[in-house]
């Protein structure tokens, strides 16, 4: 099942970062790859990446974090291959 593993981790050493809607527009980009060292003892968190990427506004104010398509805490340590997304306020239905 090598193909399945490959599908789930398209960029084994990287973290994929996604922005949506107003946040994407403000930041000026929708997607980035961030290099992640699997042997790194101090793993990056979404909060640290938010600051490193100089994303606009206050993360705690209105933005929600998802890791691998599940809502997650902004202080969860990220793994290489993770898909991280910053989600501005939802307005569905």
């Amino acid at each position: 099942m090598v193909s399945v593993v490959f599908m789930a981790e398209p960029c084994a050493g990287e973290i994929r970062i996604l922005l949506f809607a107003g946040l994407c527009e403000q930041a000026g980009w929708a997607e980035q790859q961030w290099p992640a060292n699997p042997n790194d003892d101090a793993r990056l968190t979404p909060r640290q990446l938010w600051l490193k990427l100089q994303l606009p506004g206050d993360l705690d104010q209105a933005v929600r974090v998802s890791i691998n398509r599940q809502f997650a805490d902004a202080d969860t340590p990220l793994q290489p291959g993770d898909e991280l997304a910053f989600l501005p306020p939802i307005s569905g239905g």
Partner: protein, 150 residues
Amino acid sequence: MQLRIDLHSTGFEPLVVLTRWQDEQQHRSNVQSAAEAFFIGRVRGVAADGRELEALELEHYPGMTELQLERLALDCCNRHGVISCLVQHRIGRVLPGEAIVLVAIGADRRGPAQRCCQELLEALKHHAPFWKREWRADGSSEWLSGNTPL
């Protein structure tokens, strides 16, 4: 429990989809739910600031939106012990009068059917990754930062 969730990138007719869904249900189990509660939401012709609305753009997070809708629906349906659940949601550019969302719950009693329909609608309005952008007649647009009031 019968669950079906679809995202539509072009217009859908809620009552046509609903009729097909009910026919399928009846064909499968030969019994129709004694209580059915539905909700249809449509695009208003007026933007949040009162100006005329040209269209609503619905962005979603491909992959996560589907998963999240399924999680929310299963959680709500299991909590209320209902028999069937249909969720249809538009994505992309939606015109005034067009349907954005359809929620249809079948249950054995009216209480669970109505409560489940209501709660699932609130859940997906607040916890399913959809973002609305209003396009106005003058070509300007704005992302909405919240839901329409209840």
